[in-house]
């Protein structure tokens, strides 16, 4: 079957993946990932960059080996250092915090030893308390953002949808941060930017899916053909192609950043940002399908009116002798509220000319 045919069948409900019904499976998968992530986070911890821990970083255009570079740094009076070769032409040297005056003398010392113009050495030095400030600001920002989003989603959708969206968001954040802990990638301000972008993206994606759920379940109480779970699942299937397309168009530019960041610059803002985004967008797409909506259904099924609906639907099907999938096919995409009075006119497909028929 072709991709567009899959899309067509998903839309009508003929092909349907039971995302909601198998929620325990998704929860277990997510819990395992989160457990591994938390293990990494609390066991190994994050590899925080000097922007958070304080310290100094130098980028020297030089082709000397890492060993030689370490000797040069020691000769300049700094015993502990982390030296990374960035490509073939640059070295990155990280050292503990120094006073500003010491940074200047250190730079001129190593410039002489590396035989480079001091003007070509890129330096960055961060005081230890500054990093703590940045981290605290980021956490405050996160808290304010989540509160505002809950408020907005509660007004636009309802409280349960807001709760489900936030659960999906936290899920994505935890997984992304966990990946950083496990792989030991350095966390820099660019990483934080990437993670904050995931906030926006993850919610954006969930909003699109929930909008379809909202549309499909409008007036659901007034009928007894489909229960909430089935309507929500149909919405998921109907937006599945959109979700896949969205992930592709979101991941393509991120992949471009990653390729350029790793391939050309080797390190720095672009790479750090793209890594966080790559993981986060993948997790975001997963969670809006596999976590957010199943969790929403679980919350909704605690409501008495939704429970009553399920009983009515069940009784009606027992009488008619049809199962849920059949019911979904019959209802198709028609909004449930207008179901009873049947939808608008349906045009018959046009006959094409012979030449056009051949092409397709």
């Amino acid at each position: 079957m072709k991709f567009n045919e899959v899309g067509n069948r998903l839309y009508t409900g003929e092909t349907s993946v039971d995302f909601v019904g198998r929620r325990k499976l998704w929860y277990v998968i997510s819990l395992i990932i989160i457990a591994v992530a938390s293990f990494g986070l609390f066991g190994r911890g994050l590899n925080l960059g000097i922007e958070f821990e304080g310290g100094a970083k130098f980028n020297v255009p030089s082709t000397v080996s890492v060993e030689e570079a370490r000797n040069i740094v020691k000769a300049a009076g700094v015993q502990t250092s982390v030296i990374i070769a960035v490509g073939n032409e640059r070295l990155e040297i990280q050292i503990p915090p120094l006073e500003q005056a010491e940074i200047e003398s250190f730079t001129s010392k190593i410039a002489t030893d590396f035989k480079v113009d001091p003007g070509l050495i890129t330096t960055q030095s961060v005081g230890p308390s500054w990093g703590a400030d940045i981290t605290r600001q980021a956490l405050i920002g996160l808290g304010v953002f989540i509160l505002l989003v809950i408020l907005f989603l509660t007004i636009y959708f309802e409280l349960r949808m807001a709760a489900a969206a936030i659960v999906a968001l936290l899920h994505d954040l935890l997984i992304t941060i966990g990946v950083y802990a496990i792989t030991g990638f350095e966390v820099t301000p660019a990483t934080v930017i990437g993670i904050l972008t995931i906030l926006g993206y993850s919610l954006y994606d969930t909003v699109v899916v929930f909008d379809k759920v909202k549309e499909n379940t409008r007036g659901i109480i007034a009928q007894s053909r489909l229960n909430y779970r089935e309507s929500a699942n149909l919405a998921l299937n109907q937006t599945l192609i959109r979700s896949i397309n969205t992930s592709i168009v979101a991941l393509l530019p991120v992949a471009a950043i990653l390729i350029v960041g790793v391939g050309i610059l080797q390190a720095g803002t672009l790479k750090d940002l793209a890594l966080a985004l790559f993981v986060g967008i993948a997790a975001g797409t997963y969670s809006s399908i596999f976590i957010a909506t199943p969790f929403l259904v679980q919350l909704k099924e605690r409501q008495p009116d939704i429970q009553a609906l399920s009983r009515r639907v069940h009784a009606r099907r027992a009488n008619a002798g049809i199962d849920g999938l059949e019911a979904m096919k019959v209802s198709g995409n028609q909004s449930l509220a207008t179901q009873v009075s049947q939808a608008g006119p349906r045009t018959q497909p046009k006959r094409f000319t012979r030449s056009k028929r051949k092409k397709s």
């Binding site: 200047e104 890129t122 330096t123 909008d211 960041g261 672009l270 940002l273």
Partner: protein, 515 residues
Amino acid sequence: MSAANRTRPGRSLILLLLVLAATILWTYWPGASHEARLGLDLRGGTQVILTPELAPGTEGVLTQDQINQTVEIIRQRVNGFGVAEAEVTVQGSGANAAIVVTVPGVNPEGITNLLKQTARLDFRAVLAAGSGIEIANPSPSPSATPAPQPTELPVQAATSEELYDQYLSLNCLTPGLLQGGRADDPTKYMLTCSKDGFEKLVLSPAFITGDQVSDSQATLPQQGAGGWMVTLDFDSAGATKLSEASISLSKLPSPQNRFGIVLDGLVVSAPFFSEPILGGKAQIEGSFKAEEAKQLAQVLRYGALPVTLNIAESTSISPTLGQDQLSAGLLAGAIGLGLVVIYLLLYYRALGFVAVFSLVLAAGFLWLLIIGLGRTIGFTLTLAGIAGAIVAIGITADSFVVYFERIRDEIRDGKTLRVATELGWTRARRTLLAADFVSLLAAIVLYALSVGSVRGFAFTLGLTTLIDVLVAFWFTHPLVTYFGKSKWAENGGIMTGVSRKRLTAGSTILTGSDN
């Protein structure tokens, strides 16, 4: 279809053209800079982030007033430093405020010491004063050769005699002299200039220090005559010293009856005592304009709580690395845009062209705004900002995906293309606005609560979200409406991207295709 009747695609397109024309005109306004302002990481240079803190031993909280005054002092210092493109901005407020100083060049000699120095405010008696640009000639001093021109200010010495030779040869408008930020010992005599460079002065050791000023306000006297004035309140120690100084100084002839208010080594004001002041309350009268009086009062209040500056972060990037990062960022953007364009064209065919035009238009708008905002509000494009724009390609393209999928859904339901484009839009519009609102919210919160590179990123993200809404409403939708009305598209050929035959293939339920 009432919805279709209400839609006036031509009107939206004309509106968009007007907005575009206005933006182009605004961006390329004759005589203004037409280049994007690049951040430090893209053009190289040195950036120092300073966190202000009350000087040790002083109590109270840092006010916005103090921070603004500190920024003024630093601005004076870096401008005097002789760097043309120096920039001083303040981010955040109160205890979280950070002062960001950006200067060209890699680690300019002495810049950090210049920035770190705590600025003092002192009151010193005037011993000699003269025009700042007039050099006395010939030198009346006994030495045959005139004393060398001072290279930095203030010059301090244990006795005033040591300063006179240099006083005579001093030209206050020599570049680099009016920057302040040098060591300032209140117990020594001082040779310095007024802040504007019009006057040079020899001053006694400080008789009142800034922390003895308890308050200062700019007021407009009830009588109205004489314009604005600045009131001063001193604490008890300050009041005693003020009465002593005013009693002795007010008897002297000009200029010895004057005193200099010295901030950061430069004289901000040098009024004279007209009479002894005994109550610890003084007022400085003059032909002040409102703004001048307020500035002077702010300076005097600053003295009560001097601010120390900690260097929180300093970054120096060589211009070559900056150039590399810029080209890498632009390359990543081009590749990302290219990949998305290819995907959209392959998947949505003719409809994909509409999406591609919309994307290119959105990118164009962003570029114009980056240049325009750089000129007007000082927006600088950083690598993080470029990354934000690249990420936004995906989010902008997604609004088209949501819209197009809705149209296809409607066609699957058996609607005609014309109706499908309208119904699809009314449904997609709501989703777009909700989803874009969340993105905008994220951008605003990030911008308001963060410092440094996160801000540049948040700004770009917010800007692109707004552009996304603009383009979707006034460009993509009208274009798709025209597309839906065209005979070619309604015939539903395979290249249109909305072929009914393809959109119902494989399904046996809805419109009943002939397979």
